[in-house]
């Protein structure tokens, strides 16, 4: 998948000027896939794995550069006051986090976004939009510049408004125990980082479509209540997939098919085989022909693609709290080296008083 920016305006459906009822020979409707390629989701937020990695490295490198400069300036400005141990502590402890570490922290907070949004009883689509907004924000910004904790509530607040599910700021703050000023303060930076692109195609709609189509194609061969179970499980699976990088590499229906594949491989394979190679007694020869004409990809290729996507979805994005805490601590000390020194002094002081009392830094 390459991110081609297609700027050509779409025009079709043009009525021919002669009065014949025949469609012109070059008549062709745009496929859903064509339309998706014009969406902002595809234009701005679809990448190859290499592009995505590059993007993360770049965002991190930029932030690290400015953090390191600040730290150098801090040491230079306080040169006369700092002793060797203090300088060493800064060098050792105030180390900017790497792109990989940033990702770990973001993954953890993306799960938090999901949890809070679900606790607010938001519709599935809005939970999905919240997660999506949050993760995209950190494709443009480093955790060095914007503390993830501070962005969480703003993404949910904006996702609600963007998806037509308005919750007033006062009531939102009451429910989330958030700070009104902080939530509103980040609304603009968030919107800007999202490149003002708010329209999301989530894989739930394709799920509904496949769900109906599987029942049509495998009519009489699938149990309805079983399909209901599969549907619910896929829905959960899709929400989890939104926490992975699959969303940047694959289109929503591809993610849906992968989720279906995880839940019932035999059923999904059978459905796709029938879909591609026909043999459906209910559809006329004409219909079969149109189906194969519309399909621009071979079954083998699609299966490979689904399997690759499935692998990414199944990879865990779990970050341990301990690990997240240590990353967050470094983030904090990079920005506040003076607190690192205070801590050092305090520890030395405490050690003199009672050697065991080592207070834990509270970072969250």
């Amino acid at each position: 998948m390459t991110s081609i920016r297609q700027q050509t305006p779409v025009s079709d459906g043009k009525a021919s000027k002669d009065s014949s009822t025949e469609k012109p020979s070059n008549y062709k409707r745009l496929s859903d896939d064509d339309l998706f390629r014009h969406s902002s989701q595809y234009r701005f937020w679809s990448f190859t794995p290499e592009q995505l990695e590059q993007k993360r490295i770049q965002v991190n490198a930029q932030a690290v550069q400015s953090i390191e400069e600040d730290l150098r300036n801090f040491v230079a400005d306080n040169k006369t006051d700092l002793n060797e141990e203090e300088i060493k502590t800064i060098e050792m402890k105030a180390v900017p986090v790497t792109a990989e570490e940033e990702l770990k922290l973001i993954n953890l907070y993306a799960k938090k976004v999901q949890m809070i949004a679900q606790r607010l009883n938001l519709p599935t689509e809005i939970v999905a939009t919240s997660i999506t907004f949050f993760r995209r924000f950190y494709l443009e910004n480093s955790v060095h510049k914007f503390e993830p904790k501070a962005i969480v509530l703003t993404t949910i607040f904006l996702a609600c408004k963007s998806d037509n599910y308005f919750i007033g700021i006062d009531s939102f703050c009451e429910k989330t125990r958030g700070s009104k000023e902080q939530i509103l303060k980040y609304e603009f930076p968030l919107l800007e980082s999202l490149k003002f692109s708010l329209f999301n195609h989530h894989p739930y709609r394709p799920l509904h479509g496949f769900f109906l189509d599987i029942q049509a194609v495998l009519h009489g061969k699938v149990d309805l209540s079983y399909m209901g179970h599969i549907y619910d499980r896929c829905k959960k699976r899709i929400t989890e997939a939104l926490l992975t990088d699959a969303v940047y590499f694959y289109s929503p229906p591809q993610i849906t098919l992968s989720a279906l594949m995880i839940e019932d491989e035999a059923l999904t394979t059978r459905y796709l085989e029938l879909k591609f190679h026909g043999n459906n007694p209910d559809s006329s020869a004409d219909e079969q022909k149109t189906i194969s004409q519309d399909i621009s990809i071979s079954l083998e290729k699609l299966m490979t693609l689904i399997r690759d996507c499935k692998k990414i979805i199944e990879q865990s994005t779990n970050t341990s709290v301990e690990e997240a805490k240590s990353i967050a601590a470094r983030l904090y000390f990079c920005q506040n080296p003076e607190d690192l020194l205070k801590k050092l002094k305090k520890r030395k002081h405490d050690e003199q008083d009672s050697p065991r009392a080592e207070k834990k830094t509270r970072v969250e």
Binding site: V10, G13, A15, L30, K161, S162, F188, S197
Partner: protein, 304 residues
Amino acid sequence: MSQPEYTKEKKVGEGTYAVVYLGTKQSTGRKIAVKEIKTSEFKDGLDMSAIREVKYLQEIQHENVIELVDIFLAYDNLNLVLEFLPSDLEKVIKDKSILFTPADIKSWMLMTLRGVHHCHRNFILHRDLKPNNLLISPDGQIKVADFGLARTFPSAQEILTSNVVTRWYRAPELLFGAKHYTSAVDIWSTGVIFAELMLRIPYLPGQTDVDQIEVTFRALGTPTDKDWPDVSFFPAYNKLQIYPPPSREELRRRFIAASENALNFMCGMLTMNPQKRWNAVQCLESDYFKEAPAPSDPSTIQIS
């Protein structure tokens, strides 16, 4: 921002949530309109209408939908840079010094429907189509504008507000207060606009919401369960006066210049039952567009 890329030269309008200026894009000299969203007035952060406008315009690039050229933040305000569109269909309809022909109307309908179709195939409902929101570019292209009420196609369980669309252009399902409706509401509005273009006066000008029901059904007949199953289950239905649908002859008399295909086209869009109402593709493929006269070349239509 030392040298602003966009200048605001003249204030041309002020709405509840925005002020519109005419200006120039400095680097190219292109004329543009800047819609400045008044953010400070909203305690809940960015206004929903502004968010909708950004969300949908950012998604759509089509010759017949207004172009969102750029977005920028300045002095705590959100600014939408839009293409400059000097006129709109309402102005043209009202300006009695402008003469337009059936071929011109056909051209406008074609452009409008292409824009509407593009919204619909991107799963977007406009929900406020009216002559005033169909802007006209200097080269005569119709541009669907004002996405402040737009929304994504709802899923089956979602409950919608029926309080959308400017009264005269409101589809019967909305008049009945339907909690679920489809892109068919935009097609109804388009049908009413078509009628208005032919009559050159508003076709269904209800004075109040209640009167709108009266005016609509008097002109087009009260829907019954026969052609719209279960329509009588709407709470507002029992209070209705039952009017018969107009005969073909009556329609011909009302729309003197309309061909049979033009009347079919209009009736397709103004079908009471939203499920039977034509969709954008059916409209675009109708015989009305295939028969003479051919739609005028947009750049030749007089608009001022």
